[in-house]
């Protein structure tokens, strides 16, 4: 009961404010571009498999690492905005 009420109220409130944000565009252009890129990659992969794997791995690591690092910095910045007792 207690935990249920807390969880219910908390997420109801968050969902209420989240509802005011605009929806994202899911027209599928991103997925089409990824599918097309995968097609070209597959074609090149048939000729140069090791180069393709190396490029995907290095780019993939960069994107994943930079995204994670950015999210970490963002969350830390938000946390530092809250006033603390001193």
């Amino acid at each position: 009961m207690i935990w249920s009420a807390f969880v219910y109220l908390f997420f109801k409130t968050v969902n209420f404010f989240l509802g005011y944000l605009p929806p994202i565009d899911v027209s599928g252009s991103i997925f089409t571009s990824v599918s097309t890129a995968s097609g070209y990659l597959t074609s090149i992969h048939q000729i140069f498999p090791y180069i393709t794997v190396a490029i995907i791995a290095i780019f993939g690591f960069n994107i994943a690492f930079e995204t994670s690092y950015f999210l970490f910095k963002l969350v830390y910045w938000i946390i530092r905005r809250f006033p603390t007792q001193s």
Binding site: V7, F11, I24, V26, G39, T42, P49, Y50, I55, G60
Partner: protein, 401 residues
Amino acid sequence: MALIFIFGPKFALASLLYLQPNQPASFVTAGDSVPNASLVGSFIASSDMILASSSVIQAVVQNDSNYCQGSASMYLLISDSSSSQSGSYGTFIFTPTSDRLSSVQIASIIPSSYDSLISGNTYYFRLHSQCSGADYLIGGESISGYFYFSGYLSTESINTTESKIYNFSYSTTTELAHIEGFWKATTTPGITERLSFYQESSLGQEDFVQVYATTTGFFSYDFPFRGSSYTTTGTTTAPLLSEFTLNARLDQYGPIVSFTQTDILPLDATSTSISGLNYGVNDYSTSTRNLLLYPEYECGITSMTGCVKNAFIWAFYPTQDSLNQYNNFLQLMQNKAPFGYFYSIKGSLSGISSTSTSIFNITIPANLKQFIFDPFDIAIASILWFFGSIHIYKRLKDVDI
């Protein structure tokens, strides 16, 4: 209708054959004996077809409990005549395995002078059995079987058996649900046929299992489900569910259309409800389940601990509604900017693959590939990995937390 002659042990089959297009469904006629075996199906060649060595015919018959003991075998004849064996191309023997007949290459039964099927002609498949020296079929009962024909070098492909669930049964003693059917595997990336099983009750959905089709053909699976009573300790009485439903679905999962959505095409579904009436007296001793979701204990003068447990559960155990609010929150966040774009990009990146369909194809001579392209590929990739490692090291070195 012919008389039924029984020689030796009875071999009973199921009737109603699922056939390819252009073929009417037909029924096994009771009691016909070889060579007047009953007509079980016909096929109209829709175009001039040449049988390749890989052409296959697969027949499946479900036996009931009165299957033939000993040397049972099935004969399949293909002929251009509906009469007995006139014009028959050949016969071959299936060996029944778990009520099923295995596939056989057409080329092994077709004489070389009859390796072409003429467009517009009707060809007949016939099925009969031989048990302990006698040839007979017993019909008039509920029988089922299928023909699956593939491998034609034809401009037209023959539509084969549709993906379908043919049998869905369960046992309350072993607590296993048995599902049989037919499904297809494709080589198109992102397209899969999947068989899903789960049970549903007032406690929600449980025991969800999903199996992917890896080859085209018939499948047979057993899935465990939970019984209707709970495990308990002490002196409390085992509570029972009044009813729960076993569900089986066959769906085709298509390409991902968004980070949360996959195009799902329903192919077939079935369900069956189980109540206390379906359980025998002795089933309850083995049919127990662990307490799930919102458990309740017996509360009474003789079971005070149950009352205390129930009080704590009432106070602190979250309800399904409150947990659903969390799921709604996740769903909402994935659809709202700017958080949704992160999910979108993450989903897109996971779709990058070097094994999807090629946009273009380049054929390189094998010797050129071996002596020029492969060494070049390995050399450049080594250089890339070397400098990539240095880059990763330098980037990680500069991380400021």
